[in-house]
Symmetry: C2
Subunit: 416 residues, 2 copies
């Protein structure tokens, strides 16, 4: 859509994450910002996460009354977190004389399927939202949640507020969806690990999706996918100052596309599972990954080495939270003769480089491996795709690895 | 209905207050009790308040972002309190293998008017509740809240969970509504003030309403009124043990009706306002109480003394929380020439005796006044009705006053 002159709706969606609404002071600060912005646009929709650690506190409460809290009642519990933050922002805006209305997902008709804890948005009935905007009110919407056709409350899983923000932006045809967060935008690396990390003024949807999927925390990959499908630009920016962040949009003529590598990302919250001596029979790998899918375990990377003497090895990487569940499956696979042994390794990390021309530019992967070798960091396994090269390494080396690889592709500027 | 053989629905409603669900441990204890009871009845509905101080904490949060938090967004905020407690009880029951479903007021169709913060229930759509009971589930309902026809969330004001419990009991035609609380039932006085206070096995609706209105905290008076209108017995009992408490029901043949005085109650959270030199003109008193009603201020007692020289005095007692609002009105009345002066006194308390035969039994009021006189406690003003005699006294004397009056009507039993 870049360059095409679409009709502008004049509606902006702003989504604030948990750290941006962590305290009453932060919520008041957001109210100040919104109060200043409200005259300049036709309609303003604000999507909020729960305050800071409140979701964790609700989870802890649930664990005090139940050994395995989950399902419908867990979602009803967690949904209170966003209901609190939207109510408070509504009160804070009204206190400043700004007309505002706070809506739950049920009240603004965010319909999902009934997969509690990991629901997917199916549709948004925009009638109430548009009527409230028409009446001159700022509309504040609970992120992270939805409602089934039976009026049961659902939640969208981790990062769900991003998806709510984007889905609302798509539904009302917003001019843009702002993701207001605790970093300045999309950077070439995590600034906590690499202080010299650089901010991109704009990147493509595809690069944003790969960056997000490989551990950069700025945005949920599904949110970027949705925006790409509907050509809604995303503006990832700080909720602590008014400077521009990173625009994510169609890539027709972007400067950044000249860049070979867009960023270096890492993820320590993973675990690696290696199945040894897997018989070389058709269907065994399928069985393994079907079993994992059956327990709703997302697998991040799969590496299957060539078999020797009829027996092979299957290694896969998953989010650390699923490691325990997967370990139970490993025992089943051993009993079923699928593997002689299964090793769960928690002390691993993943480091990735992302770039839209990675596959078409020879030597980029080699430069990454060389940078790691110079630091004497051993590469455990490698996976690459069109836009990404990922290496699994020992967890203890991850910070040094990110700095070394970042320096390779983004050499420190000479001191002036 | 006493004695008439109505059809029994086999449905019991149990309402638990804030102290009964204050901690995860208490919620687990309720789950244990419900798990034991569930086989013995056809249907079990549990209505819950918010956990302990959680409503106070939400109010404190609101005051951090707004100078005058109120209205629609305040109710949306407060409603999260009960949503948390019902979710947790649902999880706790499911963890014990008991099928249960937690419903918000919106989900079980508790329709109210749109008077935010002080809404009144208009109807309950029992379809979902009855379907869930039919499916063999314990139904857990959020107390204190409702929903308007526009899907906006409302709250019912103080003691609202009692009203929810009773309204649900009426709507489904329950056999009884249990009010599970932190006292053993309806006692002749607050056991914290009078350790020798006695438990009534049963009392009439009328006596319960008067006791509740005069400061006994066991039950919201509107809840007792509703049960009286629909002949639903209430069982006020402890949520900490299984012993029977007090049954509140039709008074046809009750033992307690032989009693002259049912109980002694007191209330310190009141303020007294005295308007001096009010001209003896028609309509001035009406103006005063219309102004109070216009600000939704409930007046507990009105004492207008005979006027002398064309000017009289109007005294009224209200809940302490309304004192500040009323003080603003006093200034307006002074400007308008309605009173020369208005005195707001916070250091007062009300002590009442309640009994269904008070008016028809000569000398009971005199015995109350004598008991106070023997303690040298001055009576500031007196108001009496068919079933109640209330005295306003200095706040500091209230505990001594309650003990003295209780001893008068319920003499301590000789030590054995």
């Amino acid at each position: 859509m870049t360059g095409s002159s679409t009709v502008h709706s004049g509606i902006i969606v702003k989504k604030y994450g948990g750290t941006s609404v962590a305290t009453p002071e932060r919520i008041s600060a957001i109210a100040e910002g919104v109060a200043q912005q409200v005259g300049g646009v036709r309609g303003l929709i604000v999507v909020l996460s729960a305050m800071g650690k409140s979701t964790d506190e609700l989870v802890a409460l649930a664990h005090q009354v139940s050994r395995r809290p989950a399902g419908r009642e867990m979602d009803l519990l967690l949904a209170t977190g966003e209901q609190v933050s939207v109510s408070l922002l509504g009160l804070a805006l009204q206190d400043r004389g700004v007309a505002a209305v706070s809506l739950t997902a049920a009240q603004c008709g965010i319909r999902t399927d009934s997969a509690f804890n990991v629901a997917r948005i199916q549709s948004i009935d925009t009638e109430r939202i548009l009527a409230e905007l028409e009446a001159g009110r700022v509309v504040i919407v609970t992120g992270f949640q939805g409602v089934t056709t039976d009026h049961d409350i659902t939640t969208l899983g981790r990062g769900g507020s991003d998806i709510t923000g984007v889905a609302v932006a798509v539904a009302v045809g917003a001019d843009a969806c702002e993701i207001c967060t605790d970093v300045d935008g999309v950077l070439t690396a995590d600034p906590n690990l690499v202080p010299a990390a650089r901010l991109w003024p704009e990147i493509s949807y595809e690069a944003a999706i790969e960056m997000a999927s490989s551990g950069a925390k700025v945005l949920h990959p599904r949110a970027a996918e949705l925006c790409m499908a509907y050509d809604i630009p995303i503006h990832v920016r700080s909720s602590f100052h008014a400077r521009e962040g990173t625009w994510i949009r169609g890539s027709d003529d972007m400067v950044m596309e000249q860049a070979e590598v867009v960023g270096v990302s890492s993820d320590r919250k993973i675990a690696k599972i290696t199945l040894r001596e897997v018989p070389d029979e058709p269907g065994l790998a399928a069985r393994v990954f079907q079993d994992l899918a059956g327990e709703d375990i997302c697998v991040r990377l799969i590496i299957q080495s060539a078999s020797s003497e009829g027996r092979g090895r299957i290694t896969f990487v998953l989010d650390e939270e699923f490691a325990e569940q997967a370990a139970h499956l490993v025992e089943q696979w051993k009993s079923a003769g699928i593997a002689s042994d299964g090793i769960v390794d928690h002390d691993v990390a993943k480091i990735s480089i992302v770039g839209s021309r990675l596959a078409s530019t020879p030597g980029l992967a080699a430069r990454m491996f060389s940078a790691l070798a110079r630091e004497e960091i051993n590469i455990d396994c490698i996976s690459s795709s069109e836009m990404k090269v990922a290496c699994v390494i020992a967890g203890e080396h991850v910070e040094r690895a990110v700095r070394a690889v970042h320096d390779e592709f983004f050499p420190p500027e000479p001191a002036r």
